[in-house]
């Protein structure tokens, strides 16, 4: 393969991308070398199995991916507001909407939430780490390398361009030759396997490692949402694994699953994709519901209203989420009966969702609300998300969907649920738990600026899109110079840049707070913490809890505070067993990443070599009987006394 086939050439924007990648990489290498930080990086981060550090790495990666996806979005909006400029050509536009969608859902929303789960869930249930800390590190590196593999596509080999849904036959070998689509397949496969492993890991952690006395129905609601989400992950992700594998076999080894020849069935792909894809949208919304529930209860200073109803509605949503996938292609022609069944099941989901909304409102009712930044995000979520949910029900009416389908109405719907739901929750959760992660809060004043810019930008950007959809503007279109559509498109683009500004302020706040925020002295940063994560000191010691409290109620920390109890009971101290750090996860996954990269270019011998390397690492691990070490009582005492100022 010639070099100019390997690298993408002829596009000024992409040359700019290459230059910036080269600059950033050399800057990082230079800084690490100059400050002699390589050893630190390896010892403290690349080999870590500590759930808190892994969580931070997830969140940092997710923020970078949010930046990348956001840059894609702004490019698309620029093109749509000024079609006359010919800023993007059709091919480039196709690539950008594909990478935008994929990056945002797979490499931004999910890792962000999984990052928060990583840090918070063990703390909420009184555990000292995950059930399988080594596997947790493997999962992270699978996600991270999968994301890098996908992202490198725009400079090497070319980006995928068949949409994040990658419908066949368009995405098949005949109509999308070359490595682009393979990047999509392998990037998702690699990170998807990591997600599945995390799902199992967290499920076992929650089922087996709760504090003594803590029953399932004592668990904090965010932990509940995680458990339910893991259930969805375990039953939905294998479907994606299979779907991606089948398309890979189609493309690389000439099978005929989704082809137009050999009696293949392209619509099989749509079915498989959405059998995973619809549960996937609930994978990214249920944890968001969990975060909002925590934040609202904390700043309404009340116990969450209707705890049991909240849990059961999540469970019902999880079950229903597997029964609605056909609503994504009512127009495929499955017939009136099938469409009606799925129409009804779709609308049913609105019922448990409505229950949750009323419970949040009831929690707020007659409470003394404290308007902190996480609370603002949560309060803004409720009305905004309702707009998305109600239009979802409109789309769920099969007959009407023949009009709405694949129009900007649909685009507005899912951005209202994904942004007002998932993204607001990520911001709310990050700000809320920030002191637990970094030992200081984010600045509230700057945080409010970021919030208002983002919120207003969001509504200006997406509300007009409902009307564009009703005016007949289809999605994935790059020419919009139709007089009727242009004004609303311009307004929408203005809003998009508002969101971009909001994000920039948010990121600036991370820097500003790092420099200037007051350092936390107690563990209960907001003063109204209700659940166990607030009972640990800040920063959280690596073993989390010196002594694990006995829990027999919801919101145990409220009573602990009243009774003056802490997680440091000198009389009960015992040596703590902790897992050792290991370089194996990153090495193992690098081999698999190498194999995936080789498969993208269909270099079979290299792919086999990579696979064998990965399998050899697994075998090596099987012989590794290192089962951790003990932290001695003295060390625990010293650490706790220092952290508590005793």
């Amino acid at each position: 393969m010639a070099l100019d086939e390997f690298f993408v050439t002829g596009e000024p924007l992409i040359y700019a991308g290459m230059v910036s990648i080269a600059l950033v990489t050399s800057a990082i290498i230079f800084l690490l070398t100059y400050f002699k930080k390589w050893g630190w990086l390896w010892r403290e981060w690349l080999t870590t199995v500590d759930h808190k550090k892994i969580g931070i790495m997830y969140i940092l990666s997710a923020l970078v991916m949010l930046f990348r996806g956001g840059a894609d979005a702004l490019m698309m909006r620029t093109q749509l507001a000024f079609p006359g400029l010919e800023f993007l050509d059709s091919q480039h536009y196709n690539e950008i909407f594909t990478t935008h969608g994929t990056v945002m859902i797979i490499f931004m929303a999910m890792p962000f939430l999984i990052g928060l789960m990583n840090i918070i869930v063990p703390l909420q249930i009184g555990a000292r780490d995950f059930a399988f800390p080594f596997v947790n590190a493997v999962s992270f590196w699978a996600f991270f390398l999968g994301a890098m593999l996908f992202n490198i596509s725009f400079v090497i080999g070319g980006s995928p361009d068949a949409g994040w849904t990658s419908y066949t036959p368009l995405a098949g070998a005949a109509m999308s030759p070359g490595p682009g689509q393979n990047f999509y397949l392998m990037g998702l496969q690699l990170s998807g396997i990591g997600t599945l492993a995390t799902g199992i890991n967290l499920m076992v952690t929650i089922l087996k490692m709760r504090a003594p006395g803590m029953k399932l129905f004592h668990m904090p609601i965010f932990t509940w949402s995680t458990l339910v989400t893991c259930f969805i992950i375990v039953f939905a992700f294998p479907i994606l694994t299979v779907a991606l594998a089948l398309m890979t076999i189609d493309r690389i080894f000439g099978a005929q699953f989704f082809t137009l020849t050999g009696e293949g069935l392209p619509m099989m792909w749509a079915n498989l994709f959405w059998m995973w894809g619809h549960p996937e949208v609930y994978i990214v919304i249920l944890p968001a519901f969990g975060i909002f529930s925590e934040v609202i209860a904390t700043f309404a200073k009340k116990r969450l209203f209707g705890y049991n109803a909240m849990v059961w509605s999540m469970i019902i949503i999880a079950l229903l989420s597997f029964l609605v996938w056909v609503h994504h292609f009512f127009t495929m022609g499955a017939g009136a009966f099938v469409n009606s069944v799925f129409s009804v099941s779709t609308m049913l989901i609105a019922v448990p969702t409505g229950v949750k909304i009323f419970n949040w409102l009831a929690t707020l009712y007659k409470s003394r609300i404290e308007f902190t930044v996480p609370m603002l995000w949560s309060l803004a979520f409720i009305p905004s998300f309702i707009l998305g949910g109600v239009t979802g029900v409109m789309l769920g009416m099969a007959a009407a969907d023949y009009q709405f389908h694949n129009s900007y109405f649909l685009i507005a719907h899912f951005h209202y649920v994904l942004i007002a739901g998932t993204v607001f929750a990520c911001f709310a959760g990050l700000v809320y738990w920030y002191p637990k992660m970094f030992g200081h809060k984010m600045n509230e004043r700057i945080g409010k600026w970021a919030f208002w810019l983002f919120l207003i930008g969001f509504h200006i950007c997406f509300f007009p899109q409902y009307f564009l959809g009703l005016d007949g503007m289809p999605r994935r279109l790059f020419i919009t110079n139709i007089a009727e559509w242009l004004p609303l498109n311009v307004i929408s683009t203005v809003g998009a840049f508002g969101m971009g500004a909001g994000f920039a302020v948010f990121v600036f706040n991370i820097y500003y707070s790092y420099r200037y925020s007051e350092r936390e002295k107690t563990g209960d940063a907001w003063g109204h913490g209700r659940t166990l994560e607030w009972s640990t000191t800040t920063p959280v010691p690596f073993y989390n809890f010196a002594t694990v409290p006995y829990v027999d109620e919801i919101d145990p920390y409220v009573r602990m505070k009243e009774e003056g109890k802490t997680t440091f009971d000198e009389k009960k101290l015992k040596p703590i067993h902790m897992p050792s750090y290991s370089g194996q996860p990153i090495i193992m996954m690098s081999f698999f990443a190498l194999a995936s990269f080789a498969l993208v270019f269909e270099w079979i011998p290299l792919a086999i070599a990579g696979l064998l390397g990965g399998v050899a690492c697994m075998a090596f691990r099987s012989f590794d009987y290192d089962d951790g070490y003990y932290v001695q009582v003295d060390e625990i005492k010293r650490t706790e006394r220092k952290a508590r100022g005793l």
């Binding site: 000292r128 780490d129 059930a131 399988f132 599945l196 199992i200 890991n201 499920m203 076992v204 089922l207 087996k208 490692m209 375990v234 039953f235 939905a236 992700f237 294998p238 479907i239 694994t241 299979v242 779907a243 594998a245 089948l246 076999i249 189609d250 080894f253 000439g254 099978a255 005929q256 699953f257 082809t259 020849t261 050999g262 009696e263 293949g264 069935l265 099989m268 498989l272 059998m275 067993h577 902790m578 897992p579 399998v615 075998a619 099987s622 012989f623 009987y625 089962d627 951790g628």
Partner: protein
Amino acid sequence: MSAEERTTGPLEYRTEAGRMSILGFWIFLGAEVVLFATLFATYAVLFGRTADAPHPAELFEPSMTLIMTFLLLTSSFTCGIAIHEMRRGNAKGLATWLIITLLLGLGFLGAEIYEFVHYVHEGATLPSSAYWSSFFVLAGTHGLHVTLGIGWATLLLIQLARRGLTNVTSRKFFIVSLYWHFLDVVWIFIFTGIYLIGMVI
């Protein structure tokens, strides 16, 4: 992670770590069920879409698949005996029966490879049609699992020779046995769903 250890009950359940690994593996098997269910669904949908390639009823032979079924079902039985021996604390019995299990598994694999080669000679290849794609991928995924299982159990046998029966090794053997029985169950579905139905329709 607590390192407290019980003194009664099967070795593999005595530590919390052992119990967690076993639960985790059960959940993993749940995911595997979904994986195979998806492949079966794909197979069912693509059934009959053979294009110009031979029809399965022309190629499937009862004798060959019966031999494969016999080999794999017996191996599940011997695997059960191996775990029984392990529970009795008999490392040697465990090793012997597990080796028999793996040999039966190898026999199964050999038969499957022979069968695949035969079909390919008759013109039923992976790219020949949607039906044959789904056949090879479904049966092949199962075969790949069997291969991995054989490799994995072999590694465990080496560990057994080095360390004897401990909480950890017996947990590993117990888990690999769960995996092996699971593959047997999948095969029963393949045998009835693919071969028996394919021979009559």
